[in-house]
Subunit: 244 residues, 2 copies
């Protein structure tokens, strides 16, 4: 992938998939513990609490990019993501569904929404994603969304594994994930076609690949921080959520 | 410290010191391992490599704040920090001295300067510090530097402990720290007097305290990431430095 020659659209897609195969957080030990039933309820709460900050920031990230897109066509496409996450009415959309997931695993709604108790490392990683989308080229910003190429598989593992392995988790609690199985491929089909078409030089293609590596880092760092604080060595930083 | 009443200047200073007593990274297990001789050379290299990114970003942070200060008097005071870190000639100043430290523990100078191999969590935390200084009030930005109130003690522990406990570390390697023992108190005396004078409402005082907590989080998160990647469970994220 260090080639400086121009890749064909198909080879660019292959190079993006190769990054996922190495760096997507489906390979992180915390994910494996989560879906295999290896976590306590408190550890799952810590995951849901911290991941809420990521979920709640996704529409901020998408609005940040939306504001930079030059055409109505592109903005309409990206606006769909805002609808998916923010919904069309109170208590609809992906963020609201994640809040239900957090409540379903036993967390207080107001506490989750307050952001109190999340790991500073979660905030730093998620905020870095928004900054990336604000400060880099539109091409890199679109490319950073391409982890959605890999999300149907991790969602399938998570949902089937969590339902099978935790008797206190119900299908209703995991309702967040169902629409994502159709939304994510729609989003990533568009984003992949966009980067294939707009990365016209080898340098632009390398920037696209680097953007996806960056985004994998953002996701991986969140699970590293959760694993460190709540699994091994299980030392939450000062002020962070302590499971009951 | 949750009082909403206006604190006296002395009580504000006490409240700041209480935050350090709880949250400063002198209390982090990785720091204790470092100065007690509990790390391998590779683990010390990982620390020096990642900490270089923090050190090299400090003048960027100070320049970001300098650009927001309204008077020549304040800018002259803050400009001194740039001189301390960037020096007056090539190979002088704190950043260059940290590079010598990194070389002294066996790292390649160009590799360290490239930033390749640092933990993404290091980058996210350090960049969050620059963003804080850019986006918050000048009062909060100044307050976030107040971890220097606590740095002479951690430096003394580090230098004496590392010299005593690692036979491959010399006084020359640790030359970074000597000037800091006089620079840091000069800096923090100014910053403390500034926040005592300019935090005129209870809300502003609370913002000052929150800024110091934020900065402690930035430092703590860096040691959490190092401990996770290189000590326990010792699983570096994809692409990060692997000790020889």
């Amino acid at each position: 992938m260090l080639t400086e020659t121009l890749l064909s659209p198909e080879d660019l897609a292959d190079a993006l998939r190769a990054i996922g195969a190495e760096r997507y957080h489906i390979h992180h030990p915390f994910h494996r513990l989560l879906h295999a039933g290896g976590l306590t309820r408190g550890q799952v709460q810590a995951w849901a609490l911290n991941r809420y900050y990521y979920q709640a920031t996704i529409p901020v990230k998408d609005a940040t990019l939306l504001a930079r897109l030059p055409t109505a066509e592109l903005r309409r496409e990206w606006r769909r993501r805002l609808v998916d996450h923010d919904g069309d009415a109170p208590n609809t959309g992906g963020v609201a569904r994640w809040l239900k997931l957090a409540e379903g695993v036993g967390l207080d709604r107001d506490y989750v929404q307050s952001g109190t108790g999340i790991l500073p490392a979660t905030r730093f990683a998620v905020d870095a994603y928004v900054a990336f989308v604000r400060d880099r080229t539109v091409l890199e910003a679109v490319a950073s969304s391409l982890t959605e190429l890999f999300s149907p598989k991790i969602i399938a593992e998570r949902v089937s594994g969590m339902l099978a392995n935790y008797d206190w988790i119900t299908e209703g609690t995991l309702a967040y994930f169902t629409p994502r199985l159709t939304q994510a491929p729609q989003d990533s089909d568009f984003a992949l076609a966009y980067v294939q078409r707009h990365a016209r030089t080898a340098a632009e293609q390398q920037a696209v690949l680097a953007a996806l590596r960056f985004k994998c880092d953002v996701l991986w760092a969140q699970l590293d921080a959760l694993e460190h604080a709540y699994v091994t060595p299980a030392t939450p930083p000062p002020g962070a959520f302590i499971p009951a």
